[in-house]
Amino acid sequence: MTNDKDNVTEKLQKRIRQLEAALGIVADHSGKTENRMRKQFEVVSETIPVPMIISDENGKIVFANLNAQKTFGYSPEDFTGVEASSLYDNPEKWKLFLETLANREEVSGFRVELRKSEGPVFPAALFSREIYFDGQDCVLTIVHDLTEVMALEKQLRQTQKMEAVGTLTSGIAHDFNNILTVIFGYAQLTDSLLDSDKDREKKEYLDYVVKAAIRAKSMIRQMMDFCRKTEKKKKLFHISAIVGEVVKMMSDLTRSDIDIRSDTRDKDMFVKGEPTQIHQMVTNLITNSVHALSDKGGKIEVILEKADITEKQRGEILIPKPEPGIYARITVRDNGPGIGKGIIHSIFDPFFTTKPVGQGSGMGLAVVHGIIRGHSGYVSVESGLGEGAAFHCYFPVTEEDDENAEPDAETERVGKGDESILLADDEPMVLGACSKFLRIMGYSVTSCSESMKALKIFKNHPEAFDLVITDNIMPEMSGTELSKEIRKIRPDIPIILITGSLFKRESDLKKAGIRAFIQKPFDQRKMGSVIREVLDDGKKV
């Protein structure tokens, strides 16, 4: 009996020892697991590249990761105890956020404006869940800073808008160039019929017509520069020479109470592109500054310097955002009235102008934008009302030697001839004007308003023609297609393409066997020069 009792006692004592040991094992395991999970949480929270905040039931922040500290500008000590509601620009949004969380148990993509410790506000999307943290019910919130996303969205919208306007503009430009070709052509033909003494008054009126047409031509040229999609042959040039030339020209043309100064800090920078376009871009910017200073006079600085765009500098208002690298930066700065925040994002839009009706086309800055974009460059604007304005234009610097830096001497040979030309254009008025030009120059012309008919004529008499001149955009068959077909019949026939649209790629033109192209609107002199160039080159061969 005593032995049984002893056995039971012994067993119980053993069981108690085992239970104590088990308790120790469980407590030890529990502590270690908890530590491990806490460490994992810390690693995760410090690694995720977004701000993470945990607030308690009363809305007090009990944890904020390193990214949250950086984003909101609080030290770890200052962050703990901050009211979560104080991070909201609009406290009502905090209430709405809590209501949403209570109703749905989680919040996903809650759009809100949040406030940093120093005051600036930024857009964000919040992702939240209720969690149990450090022994209490809490709210875990991940903050997705939308500043960059919204800037990119804005940039995308701007690009799409520019693309749409570009397409529209190129269509308008094409039609306008046809009209202007007719105006120039018939004005010139009429002028040639008038006697310089007897018809002086008529000649004067005609001169007004031509001047207005020249103004229209210049506007169309600007519109086309803005929406140019294909590249003309680019060459290396000293950008300082162009800038210096424009500053000198504009200084001479501008009234004396507006002081235009040039500050070239880096002279030896080569840029690849079209010097005439850079010329136009700087002219447009200075013209705008001159206009801004027209009431009170003032100072315009044109600074050329080397700029190393770093990540930090990319945050300015840049259209579009540049890649880091070495750029030639042209800054045109004036101390005029500046640009209001409300319109600063519209200033590069085509047809946007603050000038009175009739004084500005609204194409100046749009052209600047188009030219810079065409040179793989970037533009940023610094301005505010009463603060003047500064346009910083960045162009990638090229290190290569200036192999093509010679000036582009475009000499137009005015020439006459007696060769036979097949002329195709679907616009009867353009066709009429061109035919007359060519006949006056002495050429024998077969004109045709349909491309298929022109091909048929050529097919029947391929040896009857020395040259084919064709418009590009025509129904049934384009000028490029017509050229290809004609070249199949007679590969040696020289072809000139006339176009009212944007330049096609030179390689495409060569493929179609096109020797040269003439941009509408053109005059008799231009046409004669190109024809002679093509025909005489053929003879040399």
Partner: protein
């Protein structure tokens, strides 16, 4: 026989191998089914006079403290009461919780062998 939860599986092959796999993070009351399962295993082993019971934990990647308590009290301590039974625990070196905790099971049972791989 076996018992399965959302993320775990406990099975006994009837010959002497008890396998636990997956992640076990249940609350105390949820372990009652596993405790009953262990009771049946010990009964079978005891009735069959099995000399070695293998507890294979190699695929059990996580076990919370309630799970540790269940294994300690309902399996190891009960196995210790079965005369002549040796408990062999198969573990994996790469699982931290096993490295840290399983060796302490020796405090509960003398005839216990732990094998890490």
């Amino acid at each position: 026989m076996n018992i399965e939860g959302k993320d775990y599986k406990v099975s006994f092959d009837g010959r002497g191998t008890l396998t636990m796999s997956g992640k076990l993070a249940a609350m105390t009351e949820e372990y009652e089914d596993i405790e009953d399962f262990f009771e049946k295993v010990i009964e079978e082993v005891s009735e069959a006079n099995t000399t070695e019971l293998i507890l294979d934990l190699r695929e059990l990647t996580f076990l919370n403290s309630s799970g540790i308590k269940t294994i300690c009290v309902s399996l190891v301590m009960e196995a210790d009461d079965v005369d002549g039974l040796c408990l062999k625990v198969l573990c994996r070196n790469s699982l931290t919780w096993q490295v840290e905790t399983v060796p302490t099971f020796k405090d509960l049972m003398d005839n216990l062998e732990i094998v890490f791989e």
